[in-house]
Symmetry: D2
């Protein structure tokens, strides 16, 4: 479907609430800001428990960690699988944080749904349509990441696969697109965030860790994303980044994440207080 | 030169002030926020004078307008040339706003320097090295726009052409890069803004008008750019966008720009007050 | 893995034959030129049988057709599924042509292996690592298409997933990458074909239909691909393109494909006769 | 202008000959295959004379060399300027080869026209509209290179600038576009060559040296380009590439170029003999 038709769906279809609200634990995504944090990969029980406690203390309201890892090379660490899911569940129970983890195989959807509160579809699987249909059948919200090569229109069509399969709880995630620029790992497309807020009623979060691949750019890009109107973010935090088994260069230390959360809280308060963020205002038509 | 060598130049070379400060009229670029506004093209004396008064009243501290237009097609409006320069100068005198206008030919540099306070190098001429050397020889600050295909490294090397020719007053401008996404005119690369602030001592401004090509995205992208650490912005404003001879779809109406300026002022105050923007803090190393 | 390591694998690993030869029916891929043709989608028994007979008569040595279709929108035709597989098998039996069809779900690999001679992994699933591992376990050659956003290095790593799972019979396919150019559907990267021939021992085929999306460019790009050193091609042919349920603008009519095959035969004969195609010669080092 | 309008210009405008023929020395570009060769930069009289003799002997019918070099960094070798022009002229006189060299400044057009037979507009200056107009006023054919970020439509519009200024002798050159792929220096877009042959009456040549940036890919891409329908090529050849002051990794040795020319001759003969290259045939409509 083309963007005008997609946008029309949200305007006309009564079953799509004016603004989608997704209840996860005590958080109402779309109303409350969603701060997802945690390591790239689940590496051990200690690493996961200490990471979960650290991000909880810093103020995150959802914990992330990869048990099944889509890695470029088959010879890289592929994740702990089911054991990783157990550690994640335990971390969730000990901290009270809801858990989000990636699903990369249609056959794992049911299993992972028993351990995780939210299912993540990674960028490389955005157009794995069988997987989209499968997560559309379970009673778990889905965090759908934009493919590194995907247009806004394609991302919205992938969300349709999930919605159409019966699952209305989809959270979109901008995580950077692939361009000619090599200084950053990807190019964070914040105009897509503002555009999506006007085109769909689904919540939109941002992943500045994968988008930039550089520690020093994560904080400014997080604040920028907040002002672009995002409903949350997903940030990689690791107790000891220098020892991480994946994404070593882009995971924050707990104390760095704590600083980021402090600034994020002030920035969100400023945005929602001092600035009107209604789309029609965003459209710059004077009130 | 590679980025590490370029960054080293700023660290080691004493002649490059800790943070470049560029005095233009009463504004000190790099210290004061630079709000450039005005129409894409100079179309008539009335249009220019009314545009200049409107943006001045809204709080802009520099006026823009194109007298020599680089247009994709030779059959499109090419600008008023010298007559356009006269209108710009008059607008500057009546409003007290410094003028920035684009130079597209080495032979025009001296002439345009007599009318304009700042010389703009457009994205299509970023690697017009003869032109860079020529503007490097005159006593006018230069607004250097990033090419739509240019890496951060290439942009910095182009700045070197101007600095190396003897002109230390260069302002860098991120205006969106060309990607596969077609919903926006270009893809605004705000991570480049944060990156440049750490790599060079030159001021960095953002052009959300050309980057997005969509009215409704200009305001949110402006606020995002501010939080990314930019030192200013350049925004297209036209008294009657619907009648514009170029860029009809991305020029704001004066009242829309007024609204944007109000929010921008609050956002800048918040950023510079509530958030520390020192690079080392941006690097997320706890103080 | 990085390209040098990947290339080294082929040089050192004895289990990787000097040049991979894949026996499919009477064709030895890597020695004989592989001409795959057929419609984008399986639409009906008649359509498939007439298409298969037409491409067989024109000289194709493999028949393609999609039973499970990865479509951008969930509201587009999704393919006939198992019924489509039955039609394909029947077409194979009636014409003696081996069948290649796409698999998009790990759960379908076994089923599809019972109907098809070759399993295709589409561009959107190139990094569906679970699927790669699954097709790596069956006794069927795999046609692996390059993702529209994938580097040569990433394509080779995906082939490693299949090889590493135990299936040595992988055929790589260049089908165009996504760029800023909109005149063509994608941008055919023929330098990748020549590069891959030097980097790996796997056969490389080209898909000019998806790469260009334009009827008039398919023939010249096919001849260009042959001179780039490809081991075959995959071209969409439909008995009545104007009525096709998908890719209407890029499917050839049988008589157009017949013409293309005639020229392709002459071009292949010329290349393999008049030109030396050994990589070392390709490397332009005088003999 | 949009592509349909541009294509219409060629169909309707009588002043645009059915197929543009450009007489340069004894070569009629558009009828005879144009083989341009020579070093990236003019470095010394000896280097230029030995390079010119070598490419002449190998069968080139035009000699190239850069006297004014657009370099990414101001601290790299910038070319010998006027002295370089003198060497080029002498090389032309001694070998009888016409000379093509790049012009990068409107002020140099007249001067360079006195030394060179053909003026080259480099990729970085494709949209330097003042320069296009200036070369449109002189009595010298122009070799217009596609910008690394430019669409086919933009390239055709730039040709219009030259044609519209009064110079009908424009040769288009595909030299690779910038994409996410880093294995090759750029991505050679051969579908653009076939497309341009159908859209315009201007000759189209290909530069596989800058497109690939890799010695081993130049030969196969040259043969591919011939089959895509190009009217010629431009290839970098240096007597001693390992000592070159620029583009060291992509310049062929004379003996490598000799080999390439032999294969190119056979490939051109095959294409123009065995294959019909009329656009309508290329369009695959059965005769």
């Amino acid at each position: 479907m083309k963007i005008p038709e997609l946008a029309a769906l949200y305007a006309e279809d009564g079953s799509r609430r004016p603004k989608t609200r997704i209840h996860i634990g005590e958080t109402v995504v779309g109303r409350d800001f969603l701060a997802i944090a945690g390591p790239c990969s689940v590496e051990s029980e200690d690493q996961i428990l200490s990471a979960a406690k650290a991000v909880k203390e810093a103020g995150a309201n959802m914990f992330r960690g990869g048990a099944y890892k889509p890695r470029t090379s088959p010879y890289s660490f592929q994740g702990l699988g089911r054991m990783g899911l157990k550690y994640l569940k335990k971390a969730g129970e000990e901290t009270g944080l809801p858990i989000v983890t990636e699903v990369i195989d249609t056959r794992d959807v049911f299993l992972i749904s028993e351990y995780a509160d939210v299912l993540q579809i990674g960028a490389r699987n955005m157009q794995n349509f069988s997987l989209l249909v499968e997560v559309g059948k379970v009673n778990r919200p889905v965090l759908l990441k934009r493919g590194m090569y995907a247009t806004i229109e394609e991302l919205l069509n992938c969300a349709e696969y999930i919605l159409n399969a019966g699952n209305p709880n989809v959270i979109l995630c901008e995580r950077g697109i692939r361009t000619f620029e090599t200084y950053t790992r990807n190019t964070l497309d914040l105009s897509a965030v503002a555009a999506l807020k006007g085109l769909t009623h689904l919540p939109v979060v941002v992943d500045p860790s994968h988008a930039t691949g550089r520690i020093e750019l994560i904080r400014p890009m997080t604040m920028s994303a907040i002002m672009a109107g995002c409903d949350g973010f997903e940030i990689e935090v690791h107790p000891h980044p220098e020892t991480a088994l994946s994404d070593r260069d882009q995971q924050l230390k707990p104390e760095e994440f704590k600083l980021l959360m402090e600034e994020a809280r002030r920035t969100i308060a400023f945005r929602d207080g001092a600035l009107c963020t209604r789309p029609e205002r965003r459209a710059l038509v004077p009130v």
